[in-house]
Amino acid sequence: MHIPFVRRTLANGLDVIVHEDHDLPIVAVNLWYHVGSKNERRGRTGFAHLFEHLMFEGSAHHDHGFFAPLQRAGASLNGSTSSDRTNYWEVVPAGALDLALWLESDRMGHLLPALTQAKFDNQRDVVLNERRQNYENRPYGMAGIALAEALYDEDHPYSWPTIGYPDDLRAASLDDVQAFFRTYYHPANASLVLAGDIDAERAFALADRYFGDVAAGPVVPPVDAPAPSLASHARLHLEDRVELPRLYLAWHSPALFGDGDADLDLLADVLGGGKTSRLYRALVVEQELATEVTAVQYSRELTGMFQVVATARPDVTLDRLHDAVQACLDDVREAPIREDELQRSQVQAEAHFIYRLQTIGGFSGKSDQLNAYNTYCGDPGYVGEDLARYGRATPATLQAAAARCLSQPYVALGVVPTGQVALALADASQAVVQ
């Protein structure tokens, strides 16, 4: 499998990658900055995500919202921030490509003169409301934050949430964020994909025309964090406005594209993907202990996390649920999975690669894929090798990865209804959340 592309690097260091697809008269513009919350430090969290917001508020030569001219031109657009990267994308009618490039390049090259205290204060309020909506006011919404606090050392960059802590956001000053912008938001730390109804030569000429005169920025040193480990099992509880207790189990696991990453991805599917998965059959169908269960290998640039989440049926204790999950995990540690289980997961993996190729833009379309591969492996054409990793997996490699990852100490977090700490795991202590 491959996504055809051509890549060139501008003199200022900006990678430009072009993929032609002339099915519809639209072009995807996709820009990745290799900066996320892992580039922050404790006490100063939430900047990368706050920046994603601020970059939609206007730049020196277009000091108004970014959405108005693009939506009017028929574009769809958005951005997102993770611990590892920030992406911005527009899907525009082919005739509006210049407009999108003009605006993207203006905010890369000329954002700060337009960044006022008033815009800053407004977007900080919006982000605080985003946090209330998506974390604080959502059932189980704070569990991920509690889990990361427990799994990583306090100064590990994955220990804080991308959305940041409210106190840090309130304490952030305009000077702080300007310095953050100068460090990370420049051509040498970015990668631009143009995909769709455009000729490659014209695409490169346009990229050079709009981005060529943006000044190269300082070299960004890679984030160095020691491989995290847990000295012993952690058992925690967190109260929330929920009806059913939920169990989260998390282990340290290989980083994105690391040794065992694809194996654990397949193992997560065998364990928790859909109604044939081992955990679903054991916990939901046969033993009727859980109402739902998932497993995921959450692989990130520095390190990964293997996670199992199960929601208890009424009157089922978290300890019993925990033991039932562990029994399934013991099975995969001790004996290889069946060949037919693996094959199904491999076909599913292949199918999901193909289904993602249906769109040129947006989150996880072809342009986003090319940029992910360019940013994380320096090779936009990595899709073939990425898929091949899944093809090479065997029951033995899954078992080896499971034995390595799942025999380490782990975090067990139980979320219980407010006021019902008695429902928590035995001997659990209160989780830290801010």
């Binding site: 519809l24 574009a75 199918a351």
Partner: protein, 455 residues
């Protein structure tokens, strides 16, 4: 070569876009097949549309349509649940079940090298689901637990109560997911008889992707039943209910208020359709629309606010939806009501706003038909609402013809503040302050349990 940064580049108007050609056949009386052949990727998308959804539930027992839909993938007459899902995983199957007010939709995405098997499994799920008593008891238990969890989801409570307030006893006002008492009473016989009703309801099968019409006909024809499917009764015409205009559900300690403001508006086949789509775009249908700019970009009291007309076979709701910082609840309800009123009175749409909204809809239209599933779902809209074949091809010219007067007319007919009803789910101490003075009367209190436990 540097660029002139004094003015923004002016986009060229995009070329017109034609909806992909649909090929039609009648498989059996009341069962139609629509196909779109696309060879760009090795996949097929199958979509089964029954022209019956939660409106077909019985009044006194909501949730049967949804429970039946839940059971479609719990095994077929030939395969147990586990065997079915093993088979689906083996063909790269991605399955989705949607239950709406007017329709039940099953979709399957599969690798086209397995299309023969995909069609067989898909038609079996639709026509011959296993509907076993043990599976039914387990699935019902899961659904009851999901319902109990909803009690703690402010947005789900707001949605349910809002529809009930707007529609009262009309089928669109029912909780389609069921209630604790209704779900308890269903037996597997109820589910089987509901499926039998579905099986006699007109249906449309849509196939998009790496397959020809003839091959789809042949593969589907091997498995579908030839029993005639006859028309079913539409829900009655809907209109807004009288009564309290402001309902409040207390949620102690909540970090935000969930807000819904709206009314019963128009059906999909309304003559106002295109004008309403344009009106919504500038009012709350996009990031730059009036309501979001006011509440998010000017005041910073929300992560986002939006509005929508939901178009159904009968009159669907118009609604404004937002999660609001608790202390700003009353002020935000007031702001929304002011924006709604202003469009028909003091601040009519400006020519620039109108052009901008029309352009956003027409110039971006091509994006809507990129994936096989998007094309299949668009074809399903044509079938469900009995729209002319050229609906999508003519969308842009119809939107382009919408005038300032059309928008003002829609605003005056459908968006007057004195016709609005509201639901707020929030922290009582902070969000109730001033709420009685926004013009919707005194807030009437409801408890979360009342919303979910029983109708």
């Amino acid at each position: 070569m540097s660029v002139d940064r004094r003015t923004l580049p002016v986009p060229e108007p995009p070329p017109g876009i034609r909806f992909p050609h649909l090929t039609r056949s009648e498989l059996a009386p009341g069962l139609r097949l629509l196909t779109v052949e696309r060879r760009d990727l090795p996949l097929v998308c199958l979509l089964w549309l029954w022209h019956a959804g939660t409106s077909a539930d019985l009044d006194e027992a909501p949730g049967l349509a949804a429970l039946t839909a839940d059971l479609l993938d719990e095994g077929t007459s030939a395969l147990s649940m586990a065997q079915l899902h093993e088979a689906l995983a083996g063909i790269g199957g991605q399955l989705d079940t949607d239950i709406g007010h007017d329709a039940t939709v099953l979709t399957l995405l599969a690798l086209s090298r397995h299309r023969e098997r995909a069609v067989e499994l898909f038609v079996d799920m639709a026509e011959r689901p296993r509907l076993d008593a043990t599976d039914m008891a387990r699935v019902r238990g899961l659904r009851l637990n999901r319902l109990r969890q909803l009690r703690h989801s402010a947005s789900a409570l707001a949605d349910l109560l809002f529809m009930r307030r707007l529609y009262g006893p009309h089928p669109y006002g029912r909780p389609g997911i069921g209630t604790e008492s209704s779900l308890q009473q269903f037996t597997v016989e109820d589910v089987r008889s509901f499926h039998a009703r579905l099986a006699s309801t007109p249906a449309t099968l849509i196939v998009v992707g790496d397959i020809s019409h003839d091959e789809a006909m042949r593969l589907v024809g091997r498995h579908v039943s030839a029993t005639p499917r006859v028309g079913h009764a539409d829900p009655p015409v809907a209109s807004s209910t009288d009564g309290h205009r402001l309902l409040f559900v207390p949620r102690e300690g909540a970090a935000q208020s969930e807000l819904r403001i709206g009314r019963v508006a128009m059906p999909r086949k309304s003559d106002d359709y295109h004008a309403a789509v344009v009106t919504n775009m500038l009012l709350g249908g996009a990031f730059v629309s009036r309501i979001n700019m006011k509440l998010r970009e000017e005041k910073g009291v929300t992560y986002g606010a939006r509005s929508s007309f939901q178009f159904l076979r009968q009159a669907g709701p118009f609604s404004v939806q937002a999660s609001i910082q608790s202390e700003a609840t009353a002020e935000s309800v007031h702001d929304v009501l002011v924006e709604l009123d202003a469009l028909g009175t003091s601040r009519p749409v400006t020519p620039e706003e109108l052009e901008s909204a029309r352009d956003a809809l027409t110039r971006g239209y091509a994006r809507g038909f990129e994936t096989a599933e998007q094309v299949a779902r668009a074809a399903a809209q044509l079938a469900l609402y009995e729209l002319p074949e050229d609906t999508f091809d003519r969308f842009s010219e119809r939107v382009a013809a919408v005038t300032v007067e059309d928008v003002t007319g829609v605003a005056r007919r459908w968006l007057r503040a004195d016709d609005m009803q509201a639901v707020v789910v929030g922290e009582p101490a902070t969000s109730l302050v001033g709420l009685g003075a926004v013009g919707l009367g005194a807030p009437e209190h409801r408890l979360a349990d009342d919303v979910l436990a029983h109708r």
